[in-house]
C-alpha cells in the first residue's frame, strides 16, 4: 500500500475545519443549512472529479450511486438500528460495490457509450425503489441521524449538527481523495486517460485501474448520498432525479474537472444559484413561470459557457496563464 506523505496537509485541513466550525456558531440557521449543503456537494463533486477528471470516464449517473448510498444507509438505520457512524460506512461500502459492478462494465466502454449507459442507469435505478417494499416506494423512507448529543450544549441546533457531520465528512473525503490522486493510483489514472496504449505499455493494467477509479468514486458518492438524505430527512426516488446528476456534473465542470482544488467553487455555486436566481427574479419582476425555471436555466447556461470558454476550469485556466507568464519572463 502506498504511504501518504501529507502530514502538513492534514494540519491544514484540521485548521480549516476548526475555522468552519467556529463560523457555524456565528451565522443564522439558513446559512448553517446551506453550509451543510455545500459540504454535501463538495463530497459529491470530488467523487466526479476523481472519476471524470483523473480517470477520464464520464458518469452522467452519479445520482444513482448517491441513491444507493442513501438507501443503504436508511435501511441500515431503520431496519437494523445501526449507529450513525456505521450507517455512513455502510453507505460507502454499498455504493462502492455498485460502483465496482458498474465499473466492470464501464471499463469496456468508451466516451459516449459510457455516458449513455450511466444516463440510463440514472433514470432507471431510482424507480427500482418501487419494486421492493423495504424502500417505501414513491414516499420513500425516513433517515434520521438523531438529535445532537446533549453534551454540545442547549443552543446546539439540528442544522448545526448536520453541518458538523457533513463538514467533517467533507474534510475527511477531500483529504483522502487528494491523497489518492497524488498516489500511484492517481498517476495511473492520469496515464490511462492521456493515452491508453502508452499506459498499458508502461505496465499499467488500464482496465483494472479504471474499475478501481469507479469503485472509489462510487464509495465517495455513496457517502454524499447518505449525507444528502440526512439533510433532507428522507430517502425517496424523487430526491435523486436526473437533474441531480446533471447539477453535480455542472458543479464538477465549474470546479474544473481535472483539478481537485477548485471543488469549493462548484459546490458554493450550486448552493448559491437558487438564491441568486431568486434575487434576480425579484429585482426584475418577471413572471412566476420564469422564476421557477431560472435556477435550471442558470445552471445550464453556466455549464455551456464553462465548457466553451474555460473547458478545463477556472483553476487550471489560471494556472496555465501563470505558467505562460512565467515562461515569457524567463525569455
Amino acid at each position: 500500500m502506498h504511504k501518504f506523505k501529507s502530514s502538513h496537509h492534514l494540519g491544514f485541513f484540521i485548521i480549516f475545519g476548526f475555522i468552519l466550525f467556529l463560523t457555524g456558531n456565528r451565522v443564522d440557521e439558513l446559512r448553517v443549512y446551506q453550509g451543510a449543503s455545500i459540504a454535501v456537494y463538495v463530497v459529491a463533486i470530488s467523487s466526479i472529479i476523481l472519476l471524470t477528471g483523473y480517470s477520464g470516464q464520464v458518469s452522467l449517473g452519479h445520482g444513482a450511486l448517491l441513491a444507493i448510498g442513501a438507501y443503504s444507509a436508511a435501511v441500515a438505520r431503520n431496519n437494523f438500528h445501526a449507529p450513525v457512524v456505521l450507517t455512513f460506512v455502510i453507505a460507502v461500502l454499498a455504493a462502492a460495490l455498485g460502483g465496482a459492478l458498474l465499473g466492470a462494465a464501464a471499463a469496456r466502454l468508451s466516451g459516449p457509450y459510457l455516458a449513455g449507459t450511466t444516463l440510463a442507469l440514472a433514470i432507471g435505478l431510482p424507480s427500482l425503489a418501487n419494486q421492493f417494499p423495504i424502500f417505501g416506494g414513491e414516499q420513500g423512507v425516513f433517515f434520521d441521524v438523531g438529535f445532537p448529543p446533549p453534551s454540545l450544549g442547549e443552543g446546539f441546533t439540528q442544522y448545526k449538527w448536520f453541518f458538523w457531520i457533513a463538514g467533517l465528512a467533507a474534510l475527511i473525503s477531500i483529504w483522502l481523495v487528494a491523497n489518492i490522486l497524488r498516489s500511484r493510483y492517481g498517476r495511473n489514472w492520469r496515464a490511462g486517460r492521456s493515452n491508453e496504449t502508452a499506459a498499458a505499455l508502461a505496465g499499467i493494467s488500464v482496465s483494472r485501474s479504471k474499475i478501481l477509479a469507479f469503485t472509489i468514486s462510487a464509495g465517495v458518492a455513496g457517502l454524499a448520498g447518505a449525507l444528502l438524505s440526512m439533510t433532507i430527512g428522507t430517502v425517496s426516488p424523487s430526491a435523486f432525479p436526473l437533474a441531480l446528476s446533471f447539477s453535480l456534473l455542472t458543479g464538477a465542470v465549474l470546479s474544473g474537472v481535472s483539478t481537485l482544488s477548485g471543488v469549493m467553487i462548484g459546490a458554493v455555486t450550486l448552493v448559491a444559484i437558487p438564491e441568486i436566481a431568486d434575487a434576480v427574479a425579484t429585482r426584475i419582476g418577471v413572471s412566476e413561470r420564469f422564476t421557477t425555471n431560472l435556477p435550471g436555466l442558470m445552471v445550464s447556461t453556466l455549464l455551456i459557457l464553462t465548457v466553451l470558454f474555460v473547458p478545463n476550469g477556472p483553476v487550471e485556466q489560471h494556472r496555465t496563464r501563470q505558467a505562460r507568464k512565467a515562461a515569457k519572463e524567463k525569455n
Binding site: T52, G53, G56, V58, L60, A105, R108, L109, S110, G111, P112, Y113, A115, G116, T117, L119, A120, L121, I123, G124, L125, S127, L128, N130, Q131, R193, S194, L242, A243, F246, L249, T250, V253, V257, S258, R289, F290, T292, N293, G296, L297, V299, S300, T301, L303, I304, V307, L308, F309, P311, N312
Partner: protein
Amino acid sequence: MFQLLNTILIGITAGAIYSLMAISIVLVWRSTRVINFAQAGMALLSTYFGYEAMVHFNSFWIALPVAMVGGAGIAALIELVFMRLLVKRSSTGPMAAVAPIIATLGLLGLIKGIISSIWGGADVRLVGPVTNVGYSIGDKTLAFSPLKLLTLCTVVALMLLLTVLFQKSNIGLSLRASAYSPEIARLSGVKVDFVRTLGWSLAGAAGAVAGMFQTVNGNGAFSPESIEFALLLISGFIAAVIGGLESLVGAVVGGLVLGLVISFVLMYISSSLFFIAPFVILLIILFVRPQGILGVKAARRA
C-alpha cells in the same frame, strides 16, 4: 394468445417511435461524431411548435410539417452557433473527449428550461388525424388503431426516404463521404461544414416527427417532466447503440427490439421495471455484441 398479439403490437408501435429518435441520434453521430443527448429536448421543443400550429390551424397535417421545419431549424442553429464553436474551442486538453457530451447535456437543460419558461411545463395535448380507438376482432379490442398504423407507415416512409437520400443522391454521397473521412471529403470538394449542418437538420426533423407521434399516441401528455420524455431521452440512444450507431436500418431494428422487449417486460414481469429494463438491455447488448446488431467491429472506437 390475444394478450401476446397485443403485447407485440404495442411493442412495435412504441418501437417505431424509438426508431425515429435513434435515426436522429445516428444522423448526428454520422455527421459530427457527437452523441447528442439534447436530441430528445429538441424533439420536445419541435413538438411544442407543432402544438402551437395545431392551436392556430387545427390540423395535424399542418402541425406536423411546422414541427419538422422547426426541429430542422433549431438543429441547424445549434450546429452553426454552438457545435462549431465547441469543436474550435475544446478539441485539446484533458476535457477534449468529455466536453461534447457535457455540452449537449447543458443544451438539454437549457432547452428544458426555455420550454418550461414559455409554456409553463404544461402537457402538450394533440389530437391525431385518425382515431386511436383500436380495431376489434369479434368482441375484443386490439391494441392497434388506425393512428398506430399511420405511425408505423410514417416511420417506414421516412426511413425509406432517408435511405434513398443517402444511397442514391449526390447530397447523400457527400453526407457519407464526410462521415467517412472529413479531411478526404474536404479535399475532394465536399463542403463538409454545410453537410454537417444538413445532417443535424435532418436529425432535427426526424426527432420532431418522433415527438409529434409520441404525443398523439400516448395519453396526450408530453412535458419536460413527463415519463414519456425521460423514456424518449434514453431510448433513442439505446436503440441507436443496439443498431450499431452507424446505420439507419440498424437504428430502426434497434428501436423495434427495444420497444418489443420493454412491452414484454411490462406485460409479463412487472410494470415497475419500466425504466430499468432499457438499462439492462443496453448492458446485455454492450457485453455480448458491443458493435451493435448491424454494426461493424471497428466502428465502436471511433
